[in-house]
Point group: C2
Chain length 327, copies 2
């Protein structure tokens, strides 16, 4: 089943069911008015949403309409919580080597995760507003999961049951702010403005064999200004999403609608390229002695899409950096 | 005007207006069903809420009922965002001296702030569930503000306009997890479970002269197991809340309902005592050579209240640490 949130006069938008090929949609308001509401009452509403999805797939939904991803907001425009991991260790190792950073102890045993802002998630075609190019604007192509209510202390072996939806994310990052924020120990804040989401959230079964060991085994194709930038595979996560959920829930329960991210998809920046500019710059630093690829400028455009056997899954993220008006 | 959220069958609870002395309340559903909804449409709903507050104060609200703070949830049980500063520099200086930490550059010019979780805020009398006493359970007494929509890049000089409500907070902290999370650069995560809130959120005018220079000039009285623990004054903030809001909004807009915290209220751990155990332990380390006060154990109870000229303002936080059931 595939779900999306269309913009409406409500901040949380309205829930629609989308066809497998992403061409058609049908309003789900009779079942749950928003995606958040659906997640709060998942066991009850999921069977009814699945029924509606079947009707749509079989052309039996009389109120179906053409699905326009430009009308889509983020699946959860205002999520209760956004916890972003850094589960592709190849990325961290490369950054460490390039910038001569001290190793983080137990990084193979304890996931790295930061608390991100979730009050204002961007849709797949929303502009990314920035006041100053000197902020070092970067993208990070990621996969993520959305959970229902997870009890505190939920072990990884049971965390998978709570993974209700999968999503594809652009974790926009402002590199100029990160070093000070990391050194302070307080972590990312100004360096992590709103993230952006592909138009469609899907139940794990939509991925077939590509969803196994709680990982998305799909290449994430990233293009910068129409040029191939990378196509690293999501299956290379060191920690599965079940382990990331368990980490997030170790000292508190998580409420329905919490989004857990994988961190930048990375195969180490080799032939598969990268899903963020910072990683390519680190590769350049290691191989040619200096970073060459600049961070994003106003008007630059990034596109990200994971396909499964050539077919669309989440739809594409396609965004431009724009100069924001001063407040 | 004083507002509270009472528990209901909805996760966001229901909005009530509370009398100045915190003894009576009246349902505000006809104006806005939740506090979040009120903040989203503040300019429109605030005058109507004020009218209702006057009716309540003058005994002209026929549906008024006794206000029971035990029925209160956090003002925003599920806030869009929680950004917590560390604006009392005396606290940081003491911790630095006690633990021989390296100084953070520009700490007097750039506020320290971390992104906290906001999906599951606790009410004033909710138990604090913990799986293991070895987590180093601590409280942090704080003040905070709730804003309406703040545009990106909003300067401090205009940020005050967006401060709609003031709150009193217990920022529960698990000290055992903090050092590793700080060293990793990713910041607090498992070390910061759900925060708790006093029952009532108030408009700044309720504080009279005690709200000036965007600071809450009130002592925050903290008691641990019925014993005086501290009474530091909120006026000693190095940065005002206007500066904290501007810092939070520097690279992104903030949506209505965002909560910005002051960090532990601190006058440096002297005669005024402390609003968290970690600060008292640091004081002990400096003065007698070793920390003596233990972190909280199951059954321990913390109470926090700021009063204004002897009268209640936000009501009290009064919570117990309880052993949580394993998931």
């Amino acid at each position: 089943m595939k779900l999306a949130t269309l913009r409406s006069d409500r901040r949380d938008g309205r829930l629609v069911v989308v066809s497998r090929d992403l061409t058609r949609a049908v309003d789900a308001a009779g079942i749950a008015s928003t995606m958040l509401e659906a997640l709060e009452r998942w066991s009850e509403v999921a069977p009814r949403l699945r029924e509606l999805a079947e009707e749509l797939e079989e052309g039996r939904a009389p109120t179906a309409f053409d699905f326009d991803p430009r009308e889509a907001a983020a699946p959860l425009p205002r999520a209760p919580q956004w916890c972003d991991g850094s589960a592709f260790l190849a990325h961290g190792e490369l950054m460490q080597r390039a910038f001569d950073l001290p190793p983080i102890p137990d990084v193979e045993r304890i996931p790295l995760m930061y608390q991100g802002s979730s009050d204002d998630m961007l849709g797949p075609h929303d502009d990314i507003p920035v006041l100053d190019e000197a902020w070092g604007v970067d993208f990070e192509g990621e996969f993520g999961v959305i959970v229902d209510d997870v009890p505190m202390g939920c072990p990884a072996s049971r965390a998978g049951e709570h993974i209700r939806l999968l999503v594809q994310i652009n974790d926009v990052s402002l590199r100029a702010f990160a070093p000070r924020e990391m050194r302070s120990g307080f972590g990312f804040f100004q360096s992590k403005p709103s993230s952006s989401f592909a138009p469609v959230a899907v139940t794990p079964d939509e991925l077939g064999d590509a969803w196994r060991k709680a990982r998305v085994h799909l290449p994430l194709r990233v293009e910068l200004n129409g040029q191939w930038f990378g196509e690293p595979d999501g299956g290379a996560m060191h920690f599965g999403f079940d382990e990331l959920v368990a980490h997030a829930a170790a000292t508190r329960r998580l409420t329905a609608g919490t989004i857990i991210g994988s961190g930048t998809v990375s195969n180490g920046g080799g032939a598969q390229g990268s899903a963020c500019i910072a990683e390519r710059r680190a590769t350049e630093l290691v191989t040619v002695g200096a970073p060459e690829t600049p961070f994003m400028a106003f008007g630059d455009q990034v596109r990200m899409e994971a396909r499964c056997n050539g077919k669309p899954v989440f739809g594409a993220i396609d965004q431009q950096i724009v100069r924001a008006a001063r407040a």
